[in-house]
Symmetry: C2
Subunit: 336 residues, 2 copies
DNA sequence: AATGATTATGAAAACCATTAAATGGGGAAA
DNA sequence: TTTCCCCATTTAATGGTTTTCATAATCATT
């Protein structure tokens, strides 16, 4: 029923190979022939079948994207970066939510490979041996975005989370704080969880303050957890005067907990978040945050993937993007 | 190089047809044969090629999703609903951002049809003649999510935006307000823009108040626009005592503008937003908002699409989901 | 044991393109 | 004129499945 390349060939009085050349912009076609073919295509309303093309050419111009949760402010921004660059290079995206469940992740990798994607972009928390095995069981190139495997076996694009945690903590210490609390992410998340926390600890030690267990709480990256953990902090006999939260949602929860207990941000407690999601501008006081360039991470990761898919040479397969702190009103202007 | 169904057939000593049956769960296979085939598959590490399958079966178990902007809080939630149900029915999603640019939308429709998607899920603002033409140039079923065409020619899933605008406005009027302002969306957006505004006007008229042009501002759905439009409202000689914003981001901007000018929400000005995105819980005061069930819209739209793809009977192709107002602290407790 | 009804299996034709190799025609060089 | 080369085009093979149709095997009935 649908129009095939064969129909066009007959209509134009040429072979299907010639039609194929015209469709694919091959220059070896006489202008007159091209015109005839184009006319036939127009007349018949021919639309090339990408599935057949994929089978014949072994290329689908499609990449698989495995993401924990597209409805997250953080990942949706990343996804946008991925998709924009993909579009730029004429790829489409098959998007899959994993909820960071390993079995789902493995199953998705498999499904995407069955679908013959030209490349794979993976976002998640921890990369286990099973992941590596699944991803290397094939020649399909893979790039990790905002994620890294322990041995750097796979190409990845991230920021330096240890340094980010260090910087945020040090910024608070430099403002004269001795009691700097941290609301961490889940510590089984090696980068956003563990590394930021390690950076925090190192900054404390370097400043001669040392770690106070009472001032550390494990959050889960959600607003609620920032709220409740901070309430607990405020009930300490010596509550913190500054809080670093491992992401912005928790930081905003922290701010509200502080405000709800009658205290002022930043005068009583200063707060720094992490990621600099769009939300930080939409709260009062606006949130000081470590800028993790989500869009760029996605974009760079996708760009890197295109290089692998084209067999271009890649000089450095572990990319670290710069971060910085964007100061807003949840911290006081720096002391001179 | 990769293992094909033929390799498995040889290894197992059967024909490819039998292997195909085993792989696809066809019951007409002797248990012993099935076992042999399964063993061969395991031994060879066979992974079915979905592209070849798609060519042969004319089904790709993939649906195309055209969305204005995946990084938007609103649409990413919708997308999650879509993806969850898609997964449930064993479909994958090709996700494309349109930025609501018509030429891009049309081009994406075409690309997705080339890729032989089994169905199409479209989100956007206005559905023009060109869209309808592109979408009906094919037998691939399409469902509109959070979008509707003027003639209801296409299946769609939305809420009643007129009624939603009416209800929000009436809620404010019922609280005794005479000067109820509205920050609308772009009025070329028929539902979120125009319809909500129409509902607002009707509620005013029904209450015998009538439209006051000074109390209407056209926003663009972004935080900034809520902020600036509200500042303008507050400079009027008779500023509004209540504001209905066509979405939550603008409503939060409105709250901040009010607070920044030293006034109190809700005591001086009450504010109602629209959509009930996750953000509404993360501001102080928390925002009263018209609940538009984004996740459900996505989920229901996808479910509807599966019915069309399976040629199941559909009783009603224009689905209206219920909405309601979730009251929080940006409005005062209702008068008895 | 013959018959018919099921069930299990195989052979081969789609599916719709790409692509490598073959072909034919035209022009230039010998 | 013959030979060689180049360009445009065609022929035919290929990609990995599903699916139809035919055949073979099994089983229950009589």
């Amino acid at each position: 029923m649908p129009v095939t390349i064969y129909d066009v060939a007959r209509e134009a009085g040429v072979s299907m190979a010639t039609v194929s050349r015209v469709v694919n912009g091959n220059p070896n076609v006489k202008p007159l022939t091209r015109k005839k073919v184009l006319a036939a295509i127009e007349r018949l309303g021919y639309r090339p079948n990408a599935v057949a093309r994929g089978l014949a050419s072994k290329k689908t111009t499609t990449v698989g994207v495995i993401i924990p949760d597209i409805s997250s402010l953080f990942f949706s921004e990343l996804a946008r970066g991925i998709e924009d660059i993909a579009t730029m290079y004429k790829y489409n995206i098959i998007l899959c939510n994993s909820d960071q469940r390993m079995e789902k992740e493995l199953q998705l990798i498999n499904t995407l490979l069955e679908k013959q994607v030209d490349g794979l972009l993976f976002m998640g928390a921890e990369i286990k041996e099973d992941h590596l095995q699944a991803l290397t069981s094939t020649s399909v190139p893979t790039v990790l975005a905002a994620t890294r495997d322990a041995d750097n076996a796979l190409p990845s694009v991230t920021i330096d989370h240890f340094q980010a945690g260090y910087d945020a903590t040090k910024a608070l210490i430099d403002r004269g704080h001795k009691r700097v609390a941290m609301i961490t992410g889940p510590l089984n998340d090696p980068l956003s969880g563990l590394m930021r926390f390690e950076g925090y600890k190192k900054a404390l030690v370097d400043a001669g303050i040392g770690l106070n267990e009472d001032l550390v709480a494990n959050g889960n990256f959600f607003y609620e957890s920032g709220l409740t953990k901070t309430k607990q902090f405020l009930q300490l006999s010596e509550p913190p005067t500054a809080i670093f939260a491992a992401n912005d949602e928790m930081a905003i929860g922290a701010i509200h907990a502080i405000q709800d207990s009658g205290l002022n941000v930043p005068n009583d407690v200063e707060v720094i978040g992490h990621d600099n999601i769009r939300l930080v501008e939409m709260v009062r006081p606006r949130l000081t945050s470590v800028v993790q360039p989500m869009y760029d991470i996605g974009a760079v990761a996708m760009r890197l993937l295109t290089k692998y898919m084209n067999n271009e040479h890649v000089e450095e397969h572990v990319v670290l993007l710069p971060h910085r702190i964007e100061y807003r009103e949840s911290t006081r202007p720096e002391q001179e």
